[in-house]
Subunit: 268 residues, 2 copies
């Protein structure tokens, strides 16, 4: 394989890629880092091509067969860095020694509004691991798209890792406020269901989800904002005991599973 | 309130509590640290009493009303530490400034075998956040107990935090090997269902869960071991698309939810 060697931590490309750990630099560069071989493989299988791939010298031999099998013919932005240089770009302890950089254009997927289906809205979910886990479940159950109002960046290193490649398969849209998202959903004829612990909420066991529908999940500590709850078309609760609430990603998984089942029943 | 002041990072008690970040010291001291006010409150509400509570000087004024309301009368092991001393015992960036130490005896809960019900087995689940999230969902859905074969320690700082206090409500038992756990379940008349992606598995939509039943969830990367799958009484799959698998805590949440629903239906 043709490797471009990088031997200095002061290399301008290394400085730029290291900067992608921060959201403001990801936005400025319009690209984000993806760590590990599994997610790179997932992305390539989904037809996405990285801008560049960096491999640490200590891992190059082991990773070469995979890269040879997966990377498109003629892919030339393949860098082999000294191990101490790689340490500067990775966010992971015990990294596998491979980091790819993707353009955001690779995640710009169409929202399948015309086909109906179900969507998720995450309001101010703060834990990047939760965001990534939700994207992974959403992709696994055929969710049409995930809408984000505030909260953690789904393209940060922890979220991308937790998504296991779902960032390349799941349409994601950002909204400044829940009011803006509520209006957008209304315009597109999508019913909003707020997941709350309110005593006025209908149990998920009894609720009829219209088609299309978007289920709103709130912040880990506070749940949904008053304005999101007030603006929703209906309220829904997962009945629990003993604990005050479920983890946001666990609640999302259960909603996605029920949505998937009910859509399947409706479509025969 | 009566505070015992601690002003030195060399204080023997501080050294001991700082050591509880490591599992070998938790085992030796038979106790584990719990960070944050919410989980302490949960534990006290569940009738558990800490061995000691440490509050940073900068947070003491803010936390005093809560402690006054929650701690049992006459509780005397209440330490106020200088902020730079507190930093030595906490595992959290941006800590709330409160850490309690509990004895493992407070988590030694009876397994309600005589009542039937459902259980979870986690084989070699490595992410402490996943372990904690599973315990939280298990408590919320009335699971009878969680069995652990290998994997992360549910009493480590990240797992305790993710459990949101469920470590005080959920019976947890450890087994050296899946073979030992399979034998234990068989002895107690509990049916083992292995969650797998095998094509021979029955869909969770169609499966009949016997009572009592234990669902086995495997490692994040590898799933269940061959011996666990071979030893199980039946295999079950959550049907997914696009992705290779679900996050372990998401899969556990969906199993717990279905188990809870089916138990509810059976009991009227």
């Amino acid at each position: 394989m043709e490797w471009i060697p990088i031997t200095s931590r002061q290399n301008p490309l290394i400085k730029k890629v290291s900067g992608l750990k921060e959201k403001k630099n990801r936005t400025a560069e319009n690209s984000f880092p993806v760590e590990g071989a599994t997610i790179l493989k997932e992305a390539l299988q989904a037809g996405k091509v990285p801008e560049a791939v960096f491999v640490s010298a200590g891992s190059a031999e082991k990773l070469e067969p995979l890269l040879r099998a997966c990377l498109p013919e003629g892919f030339s932005a393949l860098y082999k860095t000294e191990d101490f240089v790689f340490e500067k770009i990775t966010s992971e302890k015990g990294s596998e020694g491979i980091l790819s950089v993707f353009s955001y254009s690779e995640t710009d997927l169409p929202l399948p509004f015309d086909k109906g289906g179900f969507y998720l809205a995450l309001e101010n979910v703060q834990d990047p691991g939760n965001i990534g886990a939700v994207l992974r479940s959403a992709a696994a159950f055929g969710c049409g798209g995930v809408f984000l109002c505030g909260g953690a960046d789904p393209y940060g290193p922890k979220a991308v890792r937790a998504s296991m490649g779902a960032v390349f398969r799941m349409p994601v849209r950002f909204f400044e406020t829940s009011t803006a998202l509520l209006a957008f959903l209304k315009e597109n004829g999508i019913f909003s269901v707020a997941a709350t612990l309110s005593s006025q909420a209908v149990s998920i066991k009894e609720i009829q989800f219209p088609d299309p529908v978007c289920v709103w999940i709130g912040n880990e500590g506070q749940g949904l904002s008053e304005s999101a709850v007030a603006g929703a078309d209906s309220l829904c609760i997962i009945p629990i005991e003993n604990m005050e609430s479920l983890n946001a990603a666990a609640a999302a998984a259960i909603f996605l599973w029920e949505l998937k089942k009910k859509t399947g029943e409706r479509n025969g």
